[in-house]
Each structure stands twice: as structure tokens, then as C-alpha cells.
């Protein structure tokens, strides 16, 4: 039933992910493989906001709160347990529970868009300040010292489940991250094609009509927001594992604004868009980091402004609109009918 609804574009994207997962380790060197690993991890983070904002219509300026919470949860749990499997699970569960609690007050309190943006942004900045001020021996959870602004170094990296003495090598880690990205991407598409997913989109389009049809708007928003928190948390654990390090920077304004820029550049209301935006901007950031001519943040700001002013819908929807104009409206209508 769900396969029938999956569009060819999703299959092509999924196939490309598999291709990269299998092909990249054969072609690129270790340094580039590590780069690709962090790109893919961040793609999962981009997808988390892509679904919450692009499909749920929830303006979350603080997606980094869940990302950072996932990263810190992984760090603390891995240090204490000495084994990564349960730590990864916790890095999903803890941010999800936190997102559910935060979302409960926001959605059942009927807060509107602008307030959601302000509150979520404040929350991540509170975490930023909180973790920054945990320097000193007093701030420890179990045997894990939080170390304030210095961050937590030398974290245990992923190991084969149940075998802490056998860590994953860079190729295995890369394949794991790609597999998780694939699962999240395809899973979100399946979810959005389901009844629940259609209602989530309908809520974005018109809350009043949803309620008049008997759908509980608050519940649907809370569930999709919580799911977004869980996915961001997973991305956080992948990030912490990648550098074997986590610092308050995961909660910073820079991190949270980057996620927003990826989604804006790639395109709201698509899933492949945030992935493309994320990879393109990260590649650009890496390249810009190797030169001294211009400040990276400045260039990101210019790109962000250019997109908001010139390509407000982002790359993927704009390309879709261009294709529709080239091939005529008739085909587009047919495509929409198939999607429905």
C-alpha cells in the first residue's frame, strides 16, 4: 500500500544513498570518508527540521536543543556505561521526551507561530548557557564530567552491539550513518504518505478545518514535534561519536541557524531539499574554511539573504516549478493526482 504511494523521486534518492554508502569507501580516502560521515549525520539533523517545519508547519528555531541534548546524552551515557548501544538509544529517547514535554505546553497552550519560534530559540540558548557554566569537578553525572565550555573529550565511540572491546572502524561507521540516513529518509516518506502524515500536512494548511473534521490538531503537532526531537537527538549522538567530543557549541546560535539555512536553501515542504541544502552548505563551509579571504559566517549570511529574497521556496521546489513550466501544467496536474 505504501510502496504504491512512494514516488519515483524517493526511490532514486534512496538508490543514490545506497550507491554512496557502498561506493564512497572504495573511492575516497579516510579523511574524505570522515567528512562524508559528518555530512550524512547533519543530513539527518536537517531532515528533523525539514519534517517539523516543512510538513508540520511548526516554526522551530531551536532544533539544536534536541540535537545537543542527544549529543550530551550520548556522551554522558557512553562514558558511564562504557558501551555505545544503550547510549545511542538514550540519545533518541531523552530528546524525544524533552520535546514531548516542551511541545505539550506549547501546543496545548495554543501558542502561535511567532511564540513557538521565540520559545524554542530561547530553550536552546538556555541549554547553551547552562552547559557552558558546568565547568569544575562538581558538575558530573555519574563518572562523566561535563567540563563546561571546554566540552567532553575522548568519548567512547560506537562499538559492535554487546562488544565494547570492538569499536567500529571509520568505514563501518560511515555505512552505519548512511544506513540510518536512509532509514530516516524513507521512513519519513512512508509516514507522510500515511493517514497520520496526511493529517499533519492538513494541519499545516488549515488548523480550523482539521478541527472541524474532528482531528485533534494539538495532538498531531505534538507527535510530529516529538518525532523531530527524536531524530535530531539521533543526529546528536552521531555527531558526538564522529568527533569523540561534545561541547556547548551544539546548542549555539550558529548551530541552530545553520539548520534553518539548510532547510531554507534546500526547500521547505520537501525531504530531499534539506539534504541537498545541508550537503551543499557544509561543503561550502569546508571549502571556505581553507581560505582566509572572507569570513565564513559573512558568506553564509549573504547566501541566506540571497535565498530569502531571490529563491524563497528553496532549490528543490523552485526546480520543480521550473520543470512544471517547461513541461506544461497538464503533466503537473497528473503528478498531483498520482501523489494524492
Amino acid at each position: 500500500m505504501i510502496l504504491r504511494r512512494v514516488s519515483p523521486g524517493v526511490l532514486v534518492t534512496a538508490a543514490m544513498m545506497v550507491g554512496v554508502a557502498v561506493g564512497a569507501p572504495l573511492i575516497v580516502d579516510q579523511f574524505q570518508l570522515l567528512q562524508l560521515t559528518v555530512f550524512a549525520s547533519m543530513c539527518i539533523l536537517a531532515l528533523s527540521l525539514g519534517v517539523v517545519w516543512g510538513y508540520g508547519g511548526i516554526l522551530c528555531f531551536g532544533q539544536s536543543a534536541f540535537f545537543g541534548l542527544g549529543a550530551y546524552t550520548y556522551a554522558v551515557a557512553a562514558v558511564n556505561l562504557g558501551e555505545s548501544t544503550l547510549a545511542i538509544v538514550l540519545s533518541i529517547v531523552v530528546p524525544a521526551v524533552f520535546a514531548a514535554a516542551l511541545g505539550y505546553f506549547m501546543f496545548y497552550g495554543r501558542l502561535s507561530d511567532v511564540y513557538l519560534g521565540v520559545i524554542t530559540l530561547s530553550v536552546t540558548l538556555i541549554f547553551f548557557n547552562l552547559t557552558n557554566s558546568t565547568a569544575g569537578d562538581a558538575y558530573r553525572i555519574g563518572s562523566a564530567r561535563l567540563n563546561g565550555f571546554n566540552g567532553m573529550p575522548s568519548l567512547p565511540t560506537f562499538n559492535v552491539p554487546g562488544n565494547p572491546g570492538r569499536p567500529l572502524d571509520p568505514t563501518e561507521t560511515f555505512c552505519l550513518v548512511m544506513a540510518l540516513l536512509l532509514i530516516v529518509y524513507v521512513g519519513l516518506h512512508a509516514l507522510l504518505a500515511s493517514h497520520f502524515g496526511r493529517v499533519v500536512v492538513a494541519v499545516r494548511e488549515n488548523e480550523t478545518r482539521c478541527e472541524l473534521l474532528g482531528y485533534d490538531v494539538r495532538r498531531h503537532k505534538l507527535l510530529i514535534f516529538t518525532l523531530g526531537g527524536a531524530i535530531a537527538g539521533l543526529a546528536g549522538s552521531l555527531f558526538a561519536n564522529w568527533g569523540a567530543f561534545v561541547s556547548p557549541n551544539v546548542f549555539s546560535l550558529t548551530t541552530t541557524s545553520q539548520i534553518i539555512i539548510w532547510v531554507i536553501v534546500g526547500g521547505l515542504g520537501t525531504l530531499v531539499g534539506p539534504i541537498i541544502g545541508c550537503v551543499a552548505m557544509q561543503y561550502l563551509a569546508t571549502e571556505l574554511g581553507t581560505q582566509q579571504l572572507a569570513n565564513t559566517s559573512l558568506i553564509f549570511g549573504i547566501i541566506f539573504l540571497a535565498f530569502v529574497l531571490l529563491v524563497p521556496r528553496g532549490i528543490v521546489p523552485s526546480l520543480g516549478a521550473l520543470r512544471a513550466r517547461l513541461f506544461g501544467a497538464r503533466e503537473r496536474q497528473g503528478a498531483q493526482a498520482r501523489r494524492a
Binding site: 500500500m1 493517514h195 496526511r198 493529517v199 500536512v201 492538513a202 499545516r204 494548511e205 488549515n206 480550523t208 478545518r209 482539521c210 478541527e211 472541524l212 473534521l213 474532528g214 482531528y215 485533534d216 490538531v217 496536474q333 497528473g334 498531483q336 493526482a337 498520482r338 501523489r339 494524492a340
Partner: protein, 240 residues
């Protein structure tokens, strides 16, 4: 006498110092078709918002099948079986016509049944050719039909229609009237409409509202002869 499907007791709502709805006692039988008329600002749409939980009454009660639904959430009231076509169509502009009907049907039906209902309603309201089109690009008249179809797909026991004929051509109005009478064979309806021609096509019992209160409730024939009604409303339209 059947038990009423809907009853309001002293229903009132105030905005600041203005009483938009004042002590309305309405009683609707199962499968009744009631027309609600009155000049602009008489409180008709406000009454609909109270009935669907979009507004909370200042005082008074609403009973649906004898159960108190006053203060319930909009979605909870909809789940009990009250559907509404609002004055300005409330639609999902980015979604297709088909998706509208499907979302309404799917809430209470399994997927295959919802698909079947969607096709059936598309046929019934004549939206087959537009089924795959995005609703945001449709004309006002077609949007009215989409919303009507969406309400029908949800199959609520009581259907509220707020100006279903607005923005329609003469032929479309006649078709809407036919559809309303057809729906009435199985559902109770309250219809708010300004188009008196339309009201005459469908009306049995008519409730006239004026300044938030019920002025008179009678058959269409007697309403047309009522001098008070003429003064406030029909007279402006050239009378009967």
C-alpha cells in the same frame, strides 16, 4: 415526537459589551431541515461558531442528542457528528480536492472504504474533473463545492451550511438546492442563506434571527407574510 438532535437553551455570547447572540432557544428534530435567515449581523454565523465549539458561550447550554456539549473542543464536537461548511470556505489550499474528501472520510473509515467514499462524493458533487487539482487555484464557486463535499465525506449526523449558495450562478444554486434536499433524506441540516430564491427552494421551517435573538420561527409561507420579518429583512429585497 422524536427526541431533538440538537437543542440550545438560552444560548448567549457577548463580545465586550455587545451581545452577538442573545438567549437563543433552538430545537431541531432528527432529519429536520431548518433555514436560518436574518440580516447581516443578526448572529447567524456566530451561532454556528458556538454550535461547533469555535466560540465558547457566555451563558446557556448546547445539547446534542440530549448530551451537554457546551464547552467541548471543536474536534470533539465534530467527532460527535456535527459538520460545518463555513461562510468563507475553510480549506487546505495546498492539497488536492481528492485529498480533502479523503481526509474527511478516512477519520472514521479504513483506507479502502475511505477511497470508495471519496470517489462516490466526487461523483455526487460533480468534482470529478477537478479531483487532482490543487484547491488553492479553484474559483470561489468550486471551493464551495469542495467544502460541501468534504463535509459530506465525513458523514456527520447534523450538517451546518453557512451560505452554501454564495458566489454561485443561477444553475449552480438550483443544483445546490437539489443536493441539500437529497442530503436531508438522511441528515439533519441547518442552512444559513441570504439568497431568498434558494431558501424558497428548500425551506420548510424557517428561523429568523435579528440582533442576536430569534425573532420568529414558522413555516416559509407564514414567514413571508410576517410584517416584522418584512420590516427587518425581506422588505429590503423587494418583499415576497
Amino acid at each position: 415526537m422524536m427526541d431533538p438532535i440538537l437543542q440550545t437553551i438560552g444560548l448567549s455570547v457577548q463580545f465586550g459589551g455587545v451581545a452577538a447572540v442573545r438567549g437563543v432557544n433552538l430545537c431541531l428534530a432528527e432529519r429536520e431541515l431548518r433555514c436560518l435567515i436574518g440580516p447581516n449581523g443578526a448572529g447567524k454565523s456566530t451561532l454556528f461558531k458556538l454550535l461547533t465549539g469555535q466560540l465558547q458561550p457566555t451563558s446557556g447550554r448546547i445539547l446534542f442528542h440530549g448530551e451537554d456539549i457546551t464547552g467541548d473542543h471543536t474536534h470533539a464536537i465534530a467527532r460527535r457528528g456535527i459538520g460545518i461548511k463555513t461562510q468563507v470556505p475553510n480549506l487546505f489550499d495546498g492539497l488536492t480536492v481528492r485529498e480533502h474528501l479523503w481526509l474527511a472520510a478516512r477519520r472514521t473509515n479504513p483506507r479502502a472504504r475511505a477511497d470508495a467514499i471519496t470517489d462516490e462524493i466526487l461523483e455526487r458533487v460533480g468534482l470529478g474533473p477537478q479531483a487532482g487539482g490543487v484547491v488553492g487555484r479553484l474559483s470561489h464557486g468550486l471551493r464551495q463545492w469542495v467544502e460541501l463535499g468534504t463535509v459530506l465525506a465525513g458523514n456527520p449526523e447534523l450538517i451546518l451550511l453557512d451560505e452554501p449558495a454564495a458566489g454561485m450562478t443561477h444553475d449552480e444554486v438550483a443544483r445546490t438546492a437539489e443536493l441539500v434536499l437529497e442530503i436531508n433524506r438522511t441528515h439533519a441540516l441547518i442552512v444559513v442563506e441570504h439568497d431568498m430564491q434558494f431558501v424558497r427552494m428548500i425551506a420548510r421551517t424557517v428561523t429568523v434571527m435579528h440582533q442576536g435573538a430569534v425573532l420568529v420561527e414558522d413555516t416559509m409561507g407564514r414567514i413571508l407574510k410576517n410584517s416584522a420579518v418584512r420590516d427587518i429583512y425581506l422588505g429590503k429585497h423587494g418583499g415576497a
